[in-house]
Subunit: 193 residues, 2 copies
């Protein structure tokens, strides 16, 4: 489609994440958000770099009936991977401290899987960003935990606030991918539908 069509076409975002909604807003796109069925089981033994896209495609299958014919449906799933271990949302504060202590002074990878449907097109892809953390003491982690909610975020941090601003020394790749939606790639996939 043309660039002009792209920025005017209605998008259905199958995600309740306020961060994904913010990114679409910053891009100047028209969208409505719907809640997506969250089924985060995955096939045992699946390589970590395939899981986010697998989960995004699962959401797509379960949400496809909720879009109108002229709308684009956009599904995404983000996971944090360090040394072949997947870090989801922490279970409790101790779990958050364990996660952040492991990521401390190391480089991990954030994968977002995206699935996009429009008319007879269905496209999915994975975007990876490397994130390097500085050394984090337990005292610093606890201080941030008192001021910011770390419980609703994969890997127990948001790159855009609080401990993310303190911890992230450097990234290689797309920043918005770490926030949950690789917007550059999303726009270019839509433009080429």
């Amino acid at each position: 489609m043309t660039f002009f069509n792209m920025i005017n076409i209605p998008i259905v975002l199958a995600s309740q994440s306020p961060r994904r909604a913010d990114i679409l807003r910053q891009a100047g796109l028209q969208f409505r958000a719907i809640s997506s069925p969250s089924d985060e089981r995955f096939v045992a033994g699946m390589p970590p770099f395939q899981i986010a896209e697998y989960l995004a495609n699962n959401k797509m299958q379960k949400s496809l009936h909720l879009k109108q014919n002229n709308e684009i449906l956009l599904c995404a799933d983000t996971i944090v991977v360090y040394e072949d271990t997947i870090y989801n949302k922490p279970k409790d504060e101790d779990d958050a401290i364990r996660m952040l202590s492991t990521l401390s002074d190391n480089t991990h990878t954030v994968y977002t899987g995206v699935s996009i449907a429009y008319k007879d097109h269905l496209v999915s892809f994975t975007e990876a960003t490397q994130v390097t953390f500085c050394k984090l003491s337990e005292k610093v982690i606890r201080s941030y935990m008192n001021k910011f909610n770390l419980m609703d975020k994969a890997g127990a941090y948001g790159i855009q606030e609080g401990i993310g601003l303190y911890a992230v020394q450097r990234i290689v790749g797309c920043y918005f991918n770490v926030m949950g939606l690789p917007i550059h790639k999303v726009l270019h996939v839509i433009e080429n539908l």
Copy 2:
């Protein structure tokens, strides 16, 4: 100082940039913003990577009398450099189109120079981030220009909105440095004062 002191100490931000204020807010810091004297002349022949820090130190010299003894004064200046040419705020729409067309399909460097004063400490540094743009057509540039203000930004783009989300394929380094304040390094410098 201790981490606890750092997040409670009052900061004076010598910048009217709403983006720098947003970053300090996202970091959970206490601050007040003052307007800083903008004197963007620099010494002819100065290497581009030294200019941002030179300008930040200039702002510091002119603003130092505006802070109280218990406050930290924070000055910053951001420039965009591609092939030894410095891209400041565009003069007009044609200038913005020329800048973005030059940055299109290439990698440029964003330098932010920072100067920090607290009691008898004065620290300055430069942070560099590499930014890679995809190919931008004049039609796409004009479409974004109609929806977003590109005139108040060095290099005629903001990485956090509009054409920045479309153009930026990948960065290497600190994202917030491109927005105007390398917050990771700023926090660690303050923590070590």
